[in-house]
């Protein structure tokens, strides 16, 4: 159990750093979704199923959809730097 939590936390923190460092915004969005997903699993481990369901639906679902629509409207969909 402890090694599983350690693995999830390390993956989450690496992806959080990658959100700020990646040049392509679509890749940064994918890394942000991974952070949200890891957070949702951590919420289940912390005995909060309600919060985990909310974070999975909103963080990995609606938030990423909002970002993707804005990237499309801003013209940052292709790799431009």
């Amino acid at each position: 159990m402890q090694s599983l939590v350690l693995f999830i936390v390390v993956v989450m923190l690496c992806n959080a750093v990658a959100v700020l460092l990646l040049k392509d915004f679509l890749a940064a969005l994918a890394a942000f979704s991974v952070v949200s997903l890891g957070l949702s699993v951590l919420f289940v481990i912390l005995r909060a199923p309600d919060v985990a369901m909310t974070e999975a639906a909103i963080g990995a679902g609606l938030s990423s959809l909002l970002f993707a629509l804005s990237l499309r409207r801003l013209g940052l969909w292709r790799m431009k730097g």
């Binding site: 985990a52 909310t54 609606l62 959809l65 804005s70 409207r73 013209g75």
Partner: protein, 228 residues
């Protein structure tokens, strides 16, 4: 100059966090209110899900004000985005897989969203989670076929009606001389679908409001003018 001051600020923030980490013992906060609520929530409210009873019964005002915050954010977003662009309804349709998938997903998402909203007081879930699923259910057909525009008037009417009914349910309790948001229905037995006072009604109102609000916001974001 600006980079130097920013780096100094971050260094200070990091040191502050490290100091808090050292001095504040982990798991030293005593859950006084939580234990008191856990002891009496089953008899007082009658909902099997204690988080629902905290959100709607013990802290009902906070949920009402949160709906106001969400409404303000969505309205301000719509105001900032402006009118839809001219060619929005002439975008090409997506490929066959997306269209077929959207047709399959729409009834499934509708059923799952309504189930989660209705069983909010029995299982993990409730108005907010089910509302988000309903919003995606209403937005996916527009993603697949951009020629079908969303009827913004009807969505706004559903949202306004759902928000008003939350306040109406609270005000109806005052007709009998009791306080705001006193339960209207009977408490029922623990674990039945119709139980826990007016909690199912309140969560239906919350779910419909959140769902229609977010669907309208997503539709506005996809129809707004591009900047190029």
């Amino acid at each position: 100059m600006r980079r130097l001051s920013s780096a100094l600020f971050l260094l200070g923030l990091g040191l502050l966090i490290a100091a808090i980490f050292q001095t504040m013992e982990f798991a030293s906060v005593a859950p006084i209110a939580g234990q008191a609520i856990n002891a009496v929530a089953a008899e007082q409210v009658g909902a099997a899900n204690f988080v629902t009873s905290v959100v709607l019964a013990y802290r009902g005002f906070d949920t009402l004000l949160e709906l106001t915050i969400l409404f303000t954010a969505a309205t301000a977003g719509g105001l900032v985005l402006g009118k839809p662009r001219a060619g929005a309804s002439h975008d090409p349709d997506s490929g066959f897989i997306l269209r077929a998938g959207a047709d399959l997903f729409f009834p499934l998402l509708l059923v799952v969203g309504l189930y989660i909203i209705l069983h909010g007081h029995l299982t993990p879930g409730g108005g907010f989670q089910g509302g988000v699923i309903l919003a995606s259910a209403f937005f996916i057909p527009i993603l697949a076929r951009p020629s079908t525009t969303m009827d913004h008037r009807r969505i706004s009417m559903i949202e306004g009606f759902a928000g008003a009914s939350f306040i109406l349910i609270g005000l109806l309790a005052m007709l009998g001389g009791k306080e705001f948001l006193t339960p209207l229905l009977a408490r029922g037995e623990l674990g039945a679908l119709l139980s826990a006072g007016s909690l199912p009604l309140l969560y239906i109102a919350v779910g419909l409001k959140v769902g229609s609000e977010l669907a309208g916001l997503l539709a506005q974001l996809s129809e707004t003018e591009a900047s190029d």
